[in-house]
């Protein structure tokens, strides 16, 4: 066993590194840059029942230490995914995480019913209750503990697949959302999706993004994510997966100390596609230097 192997509940991963949904598509493109089997897993582009064209116009705005996107869940639909991409993801010899999005309770249930028959090829479902770029569902569900409980409980009835609930940071009390997911039978929570933001072009007085707002990601949001991982891991019994602004191995270690069992890499892949190779090597060196198994770090945070 490698020093990097971790467990998220019952799911064993060979590394804590998972490529975050929406920053790796289905793995086809990045597999041309490095061997994806070094990863703990890959979370698919957010999928919906029907194909979605996504938002129109400008979808990206840069900031000093990050970017906003307003892609709007462009995806080929779950049926196309099952037919064309799922076997490919399975062939990558890494954890297969399928990201599930929807606009309503019924959408999410229909998605589970489509994916559950393929459970042999899937390691976990990542339930996206947090996309800020669509008009209904997703984030509007993930900001209400009652709706989180209702949806996650109903999904729990329909599938034995591990349910990882990806939550939005755009709430007053993230612990309440995470506890709602846990009480409904979630296997893990993923913290965090993007922060809702806006960038204005001062020459035109208009937002850069044609959707006006977008999801903020990148190193700028890492302290927010680390804080939320720390807060939630103090009160939860289920594992936490950290996500937000990871650029290097130190960021991974920081998330694990805060309480994360695994860590997702998102925006960093858009700038340095092969960055997980360096991060993996650096983590191995860190474990070697400190004579530890990486998983020992999880939740070792010493608060003042």
């Amino acid at each position: 066993m490698s020093r990097l192997s971790v467990k998220v509940g019952n799911v064993s991963l060979k590394s804590p590194l998972i490529l975050a949904s929406g920053t790796c598509n289905f793995g086809h493109e990045l597999s041309g840059y490095y061997d994806l089997s070094i990863l703990g897993g890959l979370s698919s582009k957010g999928l919906t029942i029907k194909p979605r064209a996504g938002n129109e116009g400008v979808r990206v705005a840069e900031t000093a230490a990050g970017m906003l996107n307003s892609v709007g869940l462009q995806n080929p639909g779950v049926d196309y995914f099952i037919e064309h991409d799922l076997d490919y993801m399975r062939s990558l010899n890494t954890g297969v995480i399928v990201n599930v999005a929807g606009h309503s309770y019924d959408d999410y249930m229909a998605m589970i019913d489509k994916l559950d028959p393929h459970k042999d090829k899937i390691d976990a479902l990542e339930i996206n209750l947090s996309c800020p770029n669509v008009k209904a569902g997703c984030m509007s569900i993930g900001t209400d503990p009652a709706q989180i409980r209702e949806i996650v409980s109903a999904m729990r009835q329909r599938t034995g697949l591990p349910l990882w609930i990806k939550l939005t940071p755009n709430v007053t009390d993230i612990k309440a959302m995470a506890l709602a997911a846990q009480s409904a039978g979630a296997d893990a929570v993923v913290l965090i999706n993007t922060l809702l933001g806006m960038v204005i072009d001062i020459r035109t007085g208009r937002p850069v993004l044609h959707n006006n707002t977008g999801g903020y990601s990148g190193p700028a949001i890492k302290p927010v994510a680390v804080r939320m991982v720390a807060e939630c891991s103090q009160v939860l019994d289920i594992p936490v997966i950290g996500c937000g602004g990871v650029m290097n191995y130190k960021d991974v270690i920081e998330f694990m100390i805060a309480g994360a069992s695994a860590v997702e890499i998102g925006t960093a892949s858009l700038i340095h596609p092969a960055c997980p190779v360096d991060i993996t090597n650096d983590l191995e060196q860190y474990c070697e230097d400190n004579q530890i198994e990486l998983s020992e770090l999880t939740g070792t945070l010493k608060l003042w």
Binding site: G22, E29, Y33, E56, V60, Q74, S269, L270, I271, P273
Partner: protein, 252 residues
């Protein structure tokens, strides 16, 4: 395997008051690149910046890009010192298929002059019949030109007064001629329609604000006509599915 290269900027010249031209050392990119492809280049900002490959020297293992200053990132890259290193992903995108014909008309506007220059180099080396039409706003913007080219300026202070359509109208191409156009959307639309009227095949190169450049983030989409009935359009990635598309497939 593809990789991110750390490359040296070997030479920097200013072509106009706001446009720099960099020669960059990278034998792999020079060896693989085809016209119409681009590179995504690190600057001092968060994201990389995409630039069409303007010229390639396979023998010396170098390639060139043109940088028009439009914002902070391009401003910094345009003033980079010779000898500096930059991180480069590429060559990216599909590029033009220059095997389609023995006769080409190349049309450029704005920063389209750069990728089109590379296409001209390759077609000339292949001994093909190629006509270059360059459209500029005015004389101060003219770069990478030569006496053999048809040059138009909106202001009329150099070459033919008018848009590149005025330049194209001086030509009588045969039916096998393929038109390749890189420029602002209104120009590509006009050139595409001009080619259509003449019964010529036309390819255009699409641009949108980009992040990854390799097809994983889906931010740089453009619209193409959908094959399925009842679907008004499909979003495709400029960086990965393009940037070159047949004119009749894109919705401009």
């Amino acid at each position: 395997m593809n990789q991110e290269y750390t490359c040296k900027v070997l030479k920097r010249v200013m072509l106009t008051s706001d446009t720099a031209y960099l020669t960059i050392g990278c034998a792999d990119i020079a060896g693989k690149a085809v016209p119409g492809q681009f590179v995504n280049v690190s600057c001092f900002r968060f994201l990389k910046r995409p630039f069409g490959i303007a010229s390639v020297d396979k023998v010396n293992g170098t390639f060139c890009i043109g940088i028009k200053i439009v914002g902070e990132g391009t401003k910094e890259l345009a003033s980079i010192e010779e000898g500096s290193t930059i991180n480069v992903l590429g060559p990216l995108g599909n590029g033009f298929d220059l095997g389609l014909s023995d006769s080409f008309i190349l049309v450029s506007g704005g920063t389209g002059v750069f990728p089109v220059n590379f296409a001209y180099e390759v077609l000339r080396q292949a001994g093909k019949d190629v006509t270059m039409v360059q459209g500029f706003r005015d004389k101060s913007q003219i770069c990478l030109t030569c006496d053999d080219y048809i040059v138009t300026t909106d202001s009329g202070d150099y070459g033919i007064k008018g848009t590149c359509i005025a330049g194209l109208d001086t030509l009588s191409p045969d039916k096998n001629t393929v038109v390749c156009c890189v420029g602002p959307v209104p120009m590509m639309k006009a050139v595409g329609n001009w080619a259509k009227d003449k019964g010529l095949r036309c390819y255009v190169s699409m641009e949108q604000r980009m992040a990854c450049g390799i097809g994983i983030c889906l931010v740089c989409v453009c619209k193409v006509r959908a094959e399925e009935e009842g679907i008004p359009f499909k979003h495709v990635r400029c960086c990965k599915d393009g940037p070159v598309f047949p004119f009749e497939e894109v919705i401009l």
